[in-house]
């Protein structure tokens, strides 16, 4: 979706804040992060659905929120969508119904972190492109989740690396299946993307699924 999350190239944000990283991080950042990570253990959603939930909001709200506010907002939404909590429970802060048993304890949470969530999958089609091939990205503007940023649509690039089959976020984010697709690193000339102010020779690399690419 063409949401406010698709920030690449936008003007107006000013200098990069806190480049020395000296501002203390409030404790609730950690707690928001930890809740998000551990709630994934229920297996009701996936990382693409989480990202979709974080970006699927009014642009003014997305930009008005802090980073972890988006996480918490998305977590609440996913829990409601998948029936783990109700709007009423969120509103009142009071649990209703029977008490549940959490899927992971401390040791289970550590094991989850160590295991991660690999997205590489066996795929039975041959890759359409080889390293060095010239490709052009699609210029589509899907309503749903996608990982081809606006700034890189309809541009020519070169295949730099093939990563095998990976879960396709565009479907997985909407619980429409993993549909593994060949994933490539595609190299673009910065000047093709950003015009004459970019420095000749600078390049931009994106990891893109085959479905985002046409042969040149």
């Amino acid at each position: 979706m063409n949401g406010a999350h698709d920030l690449g190239g936008m003007h107006g944000f000013g200098a990069v804040p806190d480049v020395l990283d000296t501002h203390p991080h409030p404790d609730w950042y950690n707690r928001a992060m930890a809740m998000t990570v551990v709630m994934a253990a229920w297996g009701r959603w996936n990382i693409d659905a989480s990202r979709r939930a974080r970006e699927d909001m009014h642009p003014a709200r997305y930009l008005g929120y802090g980073y972890y506010e988006r996480w918490v907002d998305a977590l609440e939404r996913l829990m409601v969508e998948t029936g783990l909590v109700t709007e009423e429970e969120l509103r009142t802060g009071e649990p209703a119904g029977e008490s549940l048993t959490p899927p992971v304890d401390a040791a289970g949470a550590r094991a989850m972190l160590r295991r991660g969530g690999p997205t590489e999958r066996d795929i039975d089609t041959q890759p359409r492109f080889r390293v060095g091939d010239r490709v052009v990205t699609t210029n589509e503007h899907p309503q749903g989740h996608t990982r081809l940023p606006r700034y890189a649509r309809g541009h020519e690039g070169i295949i730099l690396r093939h990563h095998g089959g990976h879960v396709l976020p565009d479907t997985n984010a909407h619980f429409q299946g993993e549909h593994p697709d060949h994933l490539y690193t595609v190299q673009f000339q910065a000047r093709d993307l950003w015009g004459s102010e970019a420095t000749e020779g600078d390049t931009v690399m994106l990891d893109l699924w085959e479905t985002y690419l046409h042969a040149q």
Binding site: M10, R51, V104, G116, P118, R147, P149, V167, A190, M205
Partner: protein
């Protein structure tokens, strides 16, 4: 308009999704506190699991991991080649693997090439080797600008690159996570791996800086 510190939030009418949640939230810290209380009392979350996660990223998983990987690559050419060919395996060999480091790629800075990593769409970051990303990496300014004007952004970090150095900007759009191998500083030929690791900063491994030098490291190595 009535707001309490629990979850009563006024509705807004600019957003018509059926999962509309576009209330004006209370103070985020209170919102998180209320949510944690609800989730633990409902049995959705084990408080010990939350503490384990926070503790892991406070104590065990952080840029020190990546620094050890880089230092090894500086002293061991075979390891460096392995890291460039199959970073996931080479990094796992040192014990670092898992969430947000499942598929790693390492890229090396040279006299001619400088690599910089961003995630314009969210804030993908190699947690297994660098821990939780700093605020600047997650900021709108960095996400918006690094891809369009990396040289101006790097100057804000104190790094002024000559135009003869090509920038390779990696926008982490999939589940591949990038680790930048900074250049080994001059004057460290007789340094051991452990001392070298002290020179490898988090920013250097994102590409937003260089490794420290014997002069800038504080002289304790």
């Amino acid at each position: 308009m009535v707001m309490t510190v629990t979850r009563d939030r006024p509705m807004s009418h600019d957003h018509d999704h059926d999962h509309d949640h576009s209330h004006v939230p209370p103070e985020p810290a209170l919102r998180v506190q209320a949510l944690e209380s609800l989730l633990t009392r409902k049995g959705l979350v084990d408080p010990g699991a939350l503490e384990a996660i926070i503790e892991t990223y406070s104590n065990d998983v952080g840029p020190r991991n990546g620094a050890r990987v880089v230092a090894r690559s500086w002293v061991d050419p075979e390891y460096r080649q392995w890291l460039l060919d199959d970073a996931t395996a080479a990094i796992a060999h040192l014990g670092y693997q898992g969430r947000q480091g499942e598929h790693m790629v390492a890229v090396e800075n040279t006299d001619r090439v400088h690599n910089l990593v961003v995630c314009t769409l969210c804030s993908c970051y190699p947690w297994t080797v660098l821990g939780i990303p700093p605020t600047w990496y997650k900021s709108e300014a960095y996400r918006a600008r690094a891809v369009r004007e990396p040289r101006a952004v790097l100057r804000e970090f104190g790094l002024d690159l000559d135009d003869s150095v090509d920038i390779r900007l990696w926008d982490s759009t999939a589940e591949i996570r990038y680790l930048v191998i900074p250049q080994r500083p001059a004057g460290t030929d007789d340094w051991n791996e452990e001392a070298l690791a002290d020179l490898v900063t988090r920013d250097a491994m994102v590409g937003a800086g260089r490794a420290l030098t014997p002069d800038t490291a504080g002289g304790d190595a």
